[in-house]
């Protein structure tokens, strides 16, 4: 039960599609316009989108906020097609309206001026890290990002990240950047970072957290548990923490790995 009075007010609205940009056959960026300012949205927060005309995608789909454009009251979502819901959303046209509940969840802890941060994203898990890199750079943080994926098709939006961070790439098959898992990448062998942020497949985040903890570096991850309500009411999305079951949708999705019972 957490009415977050210090967080931006959550809203549920019909938003207009401004852009639906295809990256490759698996990924796209959906930009939607809000009737009000989007300046209160924080990095790490997510939205719940209602998919129309389907009996299979009955629940809203949780998607991270990829970028925010306050100049035109919009935000962007970076989405990977994995099933019917994400497929139907990829077919939205400019001018269509889409029912979105936002902004949900808690933000990352932002490092301050002069600090050095490493961001590690796997596949579509890079989504919440773009807005985070932007905010970190604004704060005067030295931002480094390691983008990981199965192959070169899963390394996306590199140009966009280059605006805010030094880039490192690793792929499982070696088709781009260094070959291997993100935790085997050279940037992770010399860990002089003050903070590590990560989002991606569960095993990847666990491996990153383990390395960070061994070196006593603070580490925050953004979890992607299955959700139903997205607002802390149904208790479906829980993760085990040092203080019992907590909801990923309201107590997270961002957690410090110290509180997660991952062992």
């Amino acid at each position: 039960m957490s009415a977050n009075h210090n967080q931006p007010k959550k809203r549920s609205e019909l938003l207009k599609v401004l852009q639906n940009r295809k990256i490759n056959k698996d990924y796209y960026v959906l930009e939607v316009e809000s009737p009000a300012s989007t300046a209160d949205i924080l990095p790490g927060q997510f939205v719940e989108i209602l998919v129309k005309d389907t009996r299979n995608a009955f629940l809203r789909r949780p998607i991270s906020i990829y970028n925010v454009n306050t100049d035109r009251n919009s935000f962007e979502l970076l989405i990977q097609i994995v099933g019917e819901g994400t497929q139907l959303l990829s077919e939205l046209k400019v001018g269509d309206s889409v029912d979105i509940m936002y902004p949900l969840g808690k933000t990352f802890t932002l490092e301050t001026k002069g600090k050095k941060a490493l961001l590690v994203g796997g596949g579509v898990g890079v989504a919440p890290l773009l807005f985070l890199s932007r905010k970190l750079k604004d704060n005067g943080v030295d931002v480094h990002i390691l983008l990981g994926g199965r192959g070169s098709d899963n390394i996306i939006e590199v140009d966009n990240f280059e605006n805010y961070a030094s880039i490192y790439i690793s792929t499982d098959d070696g088709s781009k950047g260094e070959k291997g898992f993100v935790t085997q990448h050279s940037v992770m062998q010399n860990m002089d970072f003050d903070m590590i942020y990560s989002c991606g497949p569960d095993p990847m985040m666990r491996a990153v957290a383990k390395l960070a903890n061994e070196q006593n570096i603070n580490c925050e991850v953004s979890l992607e548990n299955m959700m139903a309500c997205g607002i802390g009411a149904c208790l479906c999305c829980v993760t085990e923490t040092t203080s019992g079951h907590q909801c990923v949708c309201t107590d997270g999705p961002v957690f410090n790995t110290k509180v997660l019972k991952w062992n």
Binding site: M1, S2, R55, A233, C234, C236, V238
Partner: protein, 262 residues
């Protein structure tokens, strides 16, 4: 139009309530709707002691519905009385507490504590939760046990008591009649249907508990049939629920014989 109705001593300004477990405690929805416009809200299943609930994954989406196996995660009735109640008692609607337990004594103790809360005009006795190992649904699937728990709680609980029935029975009307005979002011139905989802790739059940409770539009036809069957047999009001997504669905429940809906 006057849409108010009465269940026991409880006046609902309209027949629309929220279902337990799907609406949290209320504050979760404050940003979205005016809670005071609802006829009533039924807060999350409450037990005598703190319960962590079942392990993740405890939810699976299925066509036109979902399975859940939350397992009555809650911090216990004392925490409800001390920490949650003060924050919700100002709502200008009827707040009902959904009461559950593993033994008759647990139900009785929990109901006794809630009886003392001035702004809680009623309870919903949950004898139909399919997601706990002991008690829960077991009480709602046979007449003698449903009668035992309803009767025992009636002795200590003086305000409106609605009994929530399980659809996982062969004759729901019989159970409804049995709880009516020992003092239930109303019945609510249906709780979730015991069900299962399997991932063919991993060859395993999707839920940590293997089985869970199905809710949503998928169960609406079953809920309607049961409301109709119960309406033929009892005189007390029926609160209908199960897959209500819009006004048409709600009207269907009222036509089947429900007095109020969720």
């Amino acid at each position: 139009m006057n849409t108010s109705i009465k269940i026991g001593g409880l006046d609902l300004k309209n027949p629309v309530m929220t279902a337990s477990g799907t609406f949290g405690y209320g504050p979760e929805f404050e940003d979205f709707i005016d809670i005071n416009r609802l006829g009533g809200i039924v807060v999350k299943g409450t037990t005598l002691n703190h319960r962590e609930g079942n392990a993740y994954p405890r939810m699976a989406e299925t066509p036109s519905g979902m399975l859940n196996a939350v397992g009555l995660q809650n911090k216990g009735v004392a925490q409800f009385c001390n920490d949650i109640y003060p924050n919700i008692k100002h709502y200008n609607t009827n707040i009902l507490v959904n009461v559950s337990g593993s033994t008759v004594d647990e139900y009785v103790e929990t109901a006794r504590m809630i009886n003392d809360l001035e702004h809680i005009p009623g309870i919903e006795l949950n004898i139909s939760c399919p997601n706990v190992k002991e008690g829960g649904m077991a009480f709602g699937t046979s007449c003698p046990s449903a009668v035992a728990v309803t009767h025992a709680v009636r002795e200590v609980y003086k305000k409106t008591m609605i009994v929530k029935l399980s659809p996982n029975v062969t004759n729901i009307a019989e159970i409804a009649k049995a709880v009516e005979s020992v003092g239930a002011d109303g019945v609510s139905l249906i709780n979730t249907m015991l069900a299962m989802a399997i991932n063919a790739e991993t060859r395993k059940s999707v839920l940590s508990t293997i089985t869970g409770g199905l809710s949503g539009p998928a169960i609406k036809p079953i809920a309607l049939r049961m409301v109709w069957q119960v309406a033929q047999e009892v005189k007390i009001p029926i609160v209908g629920m199960g897959g209500i997504m819009n006004a048409t669905d709600a009207i269907e429940f009222l036509l089947a014989g429900a007095s109020a809906i969720r």
